[in-house]
Amino acid sequence: MKVPMLTINGKKESEIELPLIFSTSFRKDLIHKAFTHLNSHKFQPQGRHPTAGMDVVARSNDPPTGQGVSRIAKLRGGGGGRQGEAGGVASVRGGRQAHPPNVNKVIFKKINKKENKLALCSAISATKSKEMIESRGHIVTKIKDFPIVVSDDIESISKAKDITKILSSLNLMQDIARLKSRKPRTGKSSLRGRAKKIGKSVLFVVSKSEKLSKACGAIPGIDVKTVNELSVLDLAPGATTIRLTVYSKKAVNEIAKIKSSHLELLVNVK
């Protein structure tokens, strides 16, 4: 399969043959699995103090024969304070939680290497479909050919002023403008200072990201990744397929070197 390679001015320079990895079929189930498992690797363990709510001397009068009081545990002692109050158990004010989160719970979800590789190949391959990019909510009405491949000049750009010009010439600015209309979140997350959330727009996949990531740093929603860093987390944020991706020519050549067992079989079939 051949796609046009564009210059940084948005004009067609030549055609480039896509590597075999782009003929991998779409596996939504695997992409979803890879995302949920890889996303769990950045979770922090959460838990309560082991004795929270139980640092009291409380005993129940069980059975409270003839005393006319409830069987719930009550604090011992005298002289005012909390004495006589219920405590030390769940279901009472100031008591412990019934089933609190535990730090010992294993929240790291393992994923098989080959499964992860296949999910990555499937996600990379899906970037050639305009329909799937649009289904994630990206605005790509002016762009005809996918995946977008740009010449290597883009890797040497380090100024935000230059990259904004390139983005508008590649017709990508309309997707970046989409993020501005995002409303702040409401409810508890808003009260806790997490009202603003920045969406995801264009992903640049390059061979060297030092300069370009500097240029794109100020533009919200844009990410720059090298081929080695590339994962399903970048290509399918929130496990929804698939993100608008721009490859450099060198990056496409590096993607061709990705090894996967199904690709070896595909060579034999063809």
């Binding site: 079929s25 596996r27 189930d29 695997l30 329909e131 289904s135 595909l266 079939v269």
Partner: protein, 88 residues
């Protein structure tokens, strides 16, 4: 049919020793599909997702979900698709 709809119908390939053999012997691949899907919609979903024609479809509702045994035109086509979806 849109790809989004098709990917909701075809959930995942069902890979066991039995279904593995079916590819080479009967040009069939077994998929787990949506419970409410019908044979014509499965056929359409296969066309949009993998660009292959399904010759015959047999379904079976099991505890693993609804299985769809999909027969393709030739064994070569079935083998190629099985490779593309990472089944082999």
């Amino acid at each position: 049919m849109r790809v989004e709809q098709a990917s909701e119908i075809i959930i995942n390939p069902y890979i066991t020793e039995k279904t593995f053999e079916l590819v080479e012997t009967q040009a069939r691949i077994c998929f787990i599909v949506k419970r409410t899907s019908s044979k014509p919609t499965i056929k359409e979903a296969i066309k949009t997702l993998y660009d292959e024609n399904a010759v015959n479809i047999n379904t079976a509702s099991t505890v693993y979900g609804k299985k769809a045994y999909i027969e393709f035109e030739t064994i070569d086509k079935a083998r190629e698709l099985a490779t593309k979806i990472g089944m082999l």
